[in-house]
């Protein structure tokens, strides 16, 4: 009888930290404590090496050359597309469009899909906790088409008001564009329910997955989402590269966004026909090393297991919430029951900017400000918060350093 030994993978954060060279840097003579992964994550050696390897051994322009290196670079880039497809469980590799980042992905959909499908009086549903990148592109297309934005409110804890969402849905609704995880509050939105309600009326849904992709397993087919965007640099890959997922039937019906090379079939001055998906939306020479680097980032995540990463981060979120809540003058902003990786808070009498400066001198990198989400700051009647966002390499000890740093803030401000 064969004995199958199943070794449950465990997440060893100290070993993970060894993979990130920057984490051994010092800041003002103190160990770096990096709590700004929500803005941009640090890069593991595997990603740094993958990018170097591209330029050292396999770099040339893609999809056009007959020569050896061009083919090698093309193969590496298309292998990365398959890595992305599997990562989000898209049905078809042609549904994976490389863009500069989530921002470009949303602009692409708003512009290309919007020009074709929106007219005066049509409604686009967003939430009040959207990042500016999921507000402004829709405002731009609304200005051009006469469409109107409708905003789903949140409750005081930062949870999406699903009754209001259902009420906003009408015959005029043409698109729902909502965040999967709020970058300012950490709220995980009930995306299955959002999509179900929209699809009952035949309305497509775009999800901004920037803050979700690093922290939870994604499944485009199970979600049945119409468009999904995320950025490479938040999933431990390079900046300047991201992904737009779209259902092929929607993408096929949409006009190109940018015109140029690589997105064409035949060009004459009379008429140009366009390439098939995904190239129709990938005009110009792509960010070749970025794509390959992003693929390496995803493979690194896969090696650790996103479930293991999520469990580790959830432990830190709970530990951090408990520790921070012990501080008297501290108020958490965003306490929804379903949250991921974000500790956003304010101190009663010290402005977030002053807190950020003092923490910086302790070697602690946090983000202070409105987090490109001014409407949700207005919702809480605050200008800014202090945001500690958690990545796979953070530790409980670092939470303790953060809490001690906040002690120094109170000391300096005489509290």
């Amino acid at each position: 009888m064969a004995i199958n030994v199943i070794i449950k993978p465990t997440f060893d954060v100290e070993r993970v930290r060894q993979d990130f060279p920057i984490l051994s840097e010092e800041v003002y003579g103190k160990p770096l404590v990096y709590f700004d992964s929500g803005a941009s994550a640090q890069k593991p050696r595997a990603v740094i090496d993958a990018i170097s390897t591209v330029y050292e051994t396999e770099y040339a322009n893609v999809h056009r050359g007959v020569h050896y290196l061009s083919q090698k670079a093309t193969d590496a880039m298309e292998a990365a597309r398959e890595i992305v497809r599997a990562f989000i469980n898209a049905r078809d590799i042609r549904e994976v469009i490389f863009v500069r980042g989530a921002t470009e992905g949303i602009n692409l959909v708003a512009s290309s899909w919007g020009r074709q499908n929106l007219s005066a009086g049509d409604e686009i549903i967003l939430s009040v906790m959207e990042h500016h990148s999921n507000i402004v592109p829709w405002q731009l297309i609304a200005e051009q088409t006469g469409a109107v934005l409708k905003v789903v409110p949140i409750s005081d804890d930062g949870a999406l008001d699903m009754n209001a969402y259902a009420d906003l849905m009408s015959d005029k609704t043409k698109m729902v564009a909502i965040t999967h995880v709020s970058n300012a509050l950490g709220t995980i939105t009930p995306v299955e329910e959002i999509i179900r309600i929209a699809h009952e009326r035949g309305v497509p849904v775009l999800l901004d997955g920037c803050q979700a992709a690093p922290h939870m397993v994604l499944d485009m087919q199970a979600l049945d989402v119409d468009f999904y965007v995320f950025s490479g640099h938040k999933i431990y890959g390079p900046s300047g590269i991201g992904v737009l997922y779209g259902k092929s039937e929607l993408l096929e019906a949409m006009p190109p966004y940018h015109g140029g090379g690589e997105m064409i079939d035949v060009v004459t001055f009379e008429k140009t026909t366009y390439a098939d998906l995904p190239f129709k939306f990938e005009a110009g020479t792509p960010h070749i090393s970025g794509i390959i680097g992003m693929g390496a980032g995803i493979e690194y995540i896969n090696g650790l297991g996103l479930d293991n990463i999520a469990a580790h981060e959830h432990d830190l979120l709970e530990y951090g919430t408990a520790k921070l809540s012990e501080i008297n003058s501290l108020k958490m902003i965003g306490t929804a029951p379903e949250k991921a990786a974000i500790l956003s808070f304010v101190l009663e009498t010290v402005h977030p900017h002053d807190v950020g400066t003092i923490l910086d001198r302790e070697g602690i990198a946090v983000r202070t400000g409105h987090h490109c989400a001014q409407p949700v700051m207005d919702r809480y009647d605050i200008a800014a918060t202090i945001r500690a966002s958690i990545g796979m390499y953070n530790t409980r000890k670092e939470i303790d350093v953060l809490v001690a740093g906040l002690g120094r803030v109170q000391e300096i401000f005489g509290q």
């Binding site: 003002y28 402005h351 977030p352 900017h353 400066t357 001198r361 200008a383 401000f413």
Partner: protein
């Protein structure tokens, strides 16, 4: 521990930020200008009254960090009674102070503003210190548009 923080957050600065002078919207002002820091969402409005060429009254309303509030508070105290040219010249000196371009030695004109010299060691905070001043100059120049630090 000398990491610049105790220079940056001197007691006089904390006092101005907790109890800003000349604070609150003015009911009537000859000149008004708003400053906006899109980076952090901080806002300041400066209200000036002019008697001929002299700034007879200065007030401000703001939401912001300790540095921006203290700077605005001190500014309103300092420019009262000054001519338009003197107020602008004071900003030049103050700007040099917080950007570390004033060389060695203090300028007696700066008086209490000297306490903000620690800002020069925190480049990301220079805009906090100068926001109200930019708005003040815009108000004097009668600019219609909001002043931005970006």
């Amino acid at each position: 521990m000398n990491d610049g923080l105790t220079d940056l957050y001197q007691e006089v600065i904390l006092d101005h930020s907790r109890n800003p002078r000349n604070f609150g919207p003015a009911e009537e002002a000859d000149r008004t200008a708003r400053g906006n820091n899109p980076l952090c969402g901080d806002r300041v409005t400066v209200f000036l009254n002019l008697d001929g060429d002299e700034i007879s009254d200065a007030q401000f309303d703001a939401r912001g960090c300790a540095i921006s509030l203290a700077s605005a508070s001190m500014m309103t105290e300092m420019i009262k009674g000054k001519s338009v040219a003197e107020a602008k010249a004071l900003f030049e000196k103050f700007h040099a102070l917080v950007t570390g371009k004033n060389g060695v030695g203090a300028s007696p004109d700066l008086a209490e503003l000297e306490t903000l010299s620690g800002v020069k060691n925190f480049p990301t905070r220079i805009k906090c210190a100068t926001l109200a001043w930019h708005a003040m100059v815009a108000a004097l120049d009668g600019a219609d548009e909001d002043v931005k630090t970006e």
